[in-house]
C-alpha cells in the first residue's frame, strides 16, 4: 500500500519547514536529504504526530488527513530516531504489556511475543532490562513493538544513526527482510543506509522535493559528471583541493579518486547512488 502526499506544507514561526511536498511512498522507500531538510517533520506528519498547514495525505485512494492533521491509523507504524522507555523492566515485560494493550490475552500472548523477538533477532536478550540494551538493540525492540501492532507501513527515522558498524549491518538486513511484506520508509542523511535497500528514493532539501524516482534515475543525475583519476600519493592534496572528491580507494602505487566535475577529467565512470545524490544537491545549490 502506498502513502500519497500531495502539496504538503508546514510552516513554523513564519519559516517554511516543508513547501508543497508531493511524494508517493511505496515499496522500500528511501527519504534522503541533508540534516534540516524536513525529513523528520514529514515522517511525524505522516505518522499523525504533527499538524501541517496545507496539503493532503492518502493511503492508496483513501484520504487519511482531515484539515491540518493526519489521522492516527493502525496501518502506519513509526519508529523515532531515539527513544527510551521503561528502563527498569525487562524486554519481555514491556512487550507483554504492549501486547495486552493491543487486546491480546495475557495468558495467550507469549508465542506472539517470542515470534516478534525472533524476527528482530533478540531471543537471547529476552530477560534483559531495557536500560541494559544497546542503542541498536533498543531500536530492534522498537521494531518488535511495531510488529505487535501489525501495521502494513513502517516509518523509520534515521534508523542507523549512532549505531556501530555491526549493528548497522544487522539493522539493514532486518529492514531488507521486513521489506518483503511491508511498505517501508527509511529517512536518512546517509546514502549508504539506503543503497541496495530501497526500490524508490525521494530527496528533500530545505523542505522541498528535489527528486523522486528509482535509484537508477538518481544515479543518472551524475552520469555526465563522474570521473575517476589515478593520483600519485604526493599529488593527492592538490587534487583534493582542486576538485570535488566523492570517494577514494588506495592502490599499492597510487590512489583512485572519484570526482564530480563539469569539465572532463580522468576517465568517465558509471555513477553510484552517492554521486547522483551529491550531483543533485550541487545542482540545487547552484540554482539557489
Amino acid at each position: 500500500m502506498a502513502v500519497v502526499i500531495e502539496g504538503l506544507t508546514k510552516i513554523v514561526k513564519k519559516k517554511p519547514i516543508l513547501s508543497d511536498v508531493s511524494l508517493t511512498l511505496s515499496g522500500v522507500y528511501g527519504l534522503l536529504g541533508p540534516n534540516g531538510a524536513g525529513k523528520t517533520t514529514l515522517m511525524r506528519i505522516v505518522a499523525g504526530l504533527l499538524e501541517f498547514n496545507a496539503g493532503r495525505v492518502s493511503l492508496g485512494d483513501e484520504p487519511i488527513s482531515t484539515g491540518t492533521r493526519v489521522k492516527r491509523v493502525n496501518e502506519i507504524g513509526y519508529l523515532p530516531q531515539e527513544f527510551m522507555m521503561y528502563p527498569e523492566l525487562t524486554m519481555y515485560e514491556v512487550l507483554e504489556h504492549l501486547a495486552v494493550l493491543q487486546g491480546e490475552h495475557p495468558a495467550a500472548c507469549r508465542s506472539k511475543i517470542e515470534k516478534v523477538i525472533e524476527q528482530v533477532n533478540l531471543s537471547s536478550h529476552i530477560n534483559k532490562k531495557m536500560r541494559e540494551l544497546s542503542g541498536g538493540m533498543r531500536r530492534r525492540v522498537g521494531i518488535a513493538m511495531l510488529l505487535l501492532r501489525e501495521p502494513s507501513i513502517l516509518l523509520f527515522d534515521e534508523p542507523t544513526a549512532g549505531l556501530d558498524i555491526r549493528e548497522r549491518v544487522r539493522f539493514r538486513n532486518l529492514l531488507k527482510r521486513l521489506g518483503h511484506d511491508h511498505t517501508i520508509v527509511i529517512s536518512s542523511h546517509l546514502v549508504e543506509d539506503i543503497e541496495f535497500l530501497c526500490t524508490k528514493i525521494g530527496v528533500l532539501d530545505r523542505g522541498m522535493v528535489l527528486f523522486e524516482g528509482s535509484p537508477d534515475e538518481l544515479k543518472q543525475k551524475a552520469a555526465p559528471y563522474t570521473y575517476e583519476l589515478d593520483v600519485p600519493f604526493e599529488e593527492l592534496d592538490s587534487v583534493m583541493a582542486a576538485n570535488e572528491v566523492v570517494q577514494m580507494s588506495e592502490e599499492p602505487s597510487h590512489v583512485v579518486v572519484r570526482v564530480l566535475s563539469e569539465e572532463p577529467i580522468g576517465r568517465p565512470v558509471a555513477p553510484r547512488l552517492m554521486d547522483g545524490y551529491l550531483a543533485l544537491l550541487k545542482e540545487a545549490e547552484a540554482h539557489g
Binding site: 505518522a47 493502525n74 527513544f83 522507555m85 521503561y86 527498569e88 490475552h105 495475557p106 522498537g142
Partner: protein
C-alpha cells in the same frame, strides 16, 4: 475484559512504579489519622471533610500521572502512543474505581463520626466533580507540559495554596468547599469552574491520544 487481564494491568503498574505505587494509600492512611484528630477537637464536619477534599481527592490522581509520565521519556511517546490510545480510557476507569472506592470509605468515616447532615446532594455532586477533575487534570497537564515536574508543581502549588488559605487569598478560580455552602452562588461557582476544568482536561487528553 476478564479478571486476568485486569490483574495484569495492575500488576504491570506495580512493577513499573515500585514502592511509589503505595504512596497514595499511605496518604489515605494519613488522612484517616488527621480526620480523627480534627474530629476529636471540633464538631464541625467540614474540617475532616476538608482533609478529604484537599489531600485525599488530589492524591487520587497520583497513579495516572506517575504511570503516564513514562510516555514523556525520550521519544517514548512517539513509539508508545498507538498502544496507549487504546488503554487510556480503561486506565482512567480502573483508577477512578480504585480511588473512588477509597474516597467513599473516607467519606463514610466522616459520616460515622459526624452523621449525614453535612453531606447534602449538592455537596455530593461537588465531591464527584472535584474527584473527576483531579483524575483528569494531572494527565492533561502532563500532556501539555510533557514534564512530570511541571505538571506536579502546578497541581500541588494550586492545591496547597487553596487549602492553606481556605480559598480566600489567591485571585484564581476556587474549587473547594471549606464550609457548608451558605447560598447557591457559593456552590455554583466552584461547580462551574470544576465543570469547565473537566471539559478542558478531557479535550486536552483527547487531543493528546487521538
Amino acid at each position: 475484559m476478564d479478571k486476568k487481564t485486569i490483574a495484569h494491568h495492575f500488576s504491570f503498574d506495580r512493577r513499573l512504579l515500585g514502592r511509589l505505587y503505595w504512596f497514595p494509600f499511605l496518604v489515605y492512611g494519613l488522612c484517616v489519622g488527621l480526620m480523627g484528630i480534627l474530629s476529636a477537637r471540633s464538631d464541625e464536619p467540614f474540617l475532616p471533610y476538608t482533609v478529604i477534599q484537599g489531600m485525599a481527592v488530589p492524591i487520587a490522581g497520583w497513579h495516572l500521572v506517575f504511570l503516564y509520565r513514562h510516555l514523556y521519556d525520550e521519544g517514548a511517546k512517539e513509539a508508545l502512543l498507538w498502544h496507549y490510545r487504546k488503554a487510556v480510557v480503561f486506565d482512567l476507569v480502573r483508577y477512578a474505581v480504585l480511588h473512588g472506592g477509597c474516597i467513599v470509605l473516607l467519606v463514610a468515616a466522616v459520616i460515622w463520626i459526624h452523621g449525614t447532615m453535612f453531606l447534602t446532594a449538592p455537596v455530593l455532586v461537588h465531591l464527584f466533580l472535584l474527584f473527576s477533575f483531579y483524575q483528569l487534570i494531572g494527565l492533561a497537564l502532563l500532556g501539555v507540559f510533557g514534564s512530570l515536574d511541571v505538571a506536579l508543581s502546578v497541581i500541588s502549588v494550586y492545591t496547597f495554596m487553596e487549602v492553606a488559605t481556605q480559598g480566600t487569598f489567591m485571585p484564581w478560580p476556587h474549587l473547594f468547599l471549606f464550609q457548608a455552602p451558605a447560598d447557591s452562588l457559593s456552590l455554583l461557582l466552584p461547580m462551574m469552574w470544576l465543570g469547565a476544568g473537566i471539559v478542558i482536561a478531557a479535550i486536552l487528553i483527547g487531543r493528546e491520544f487521538w
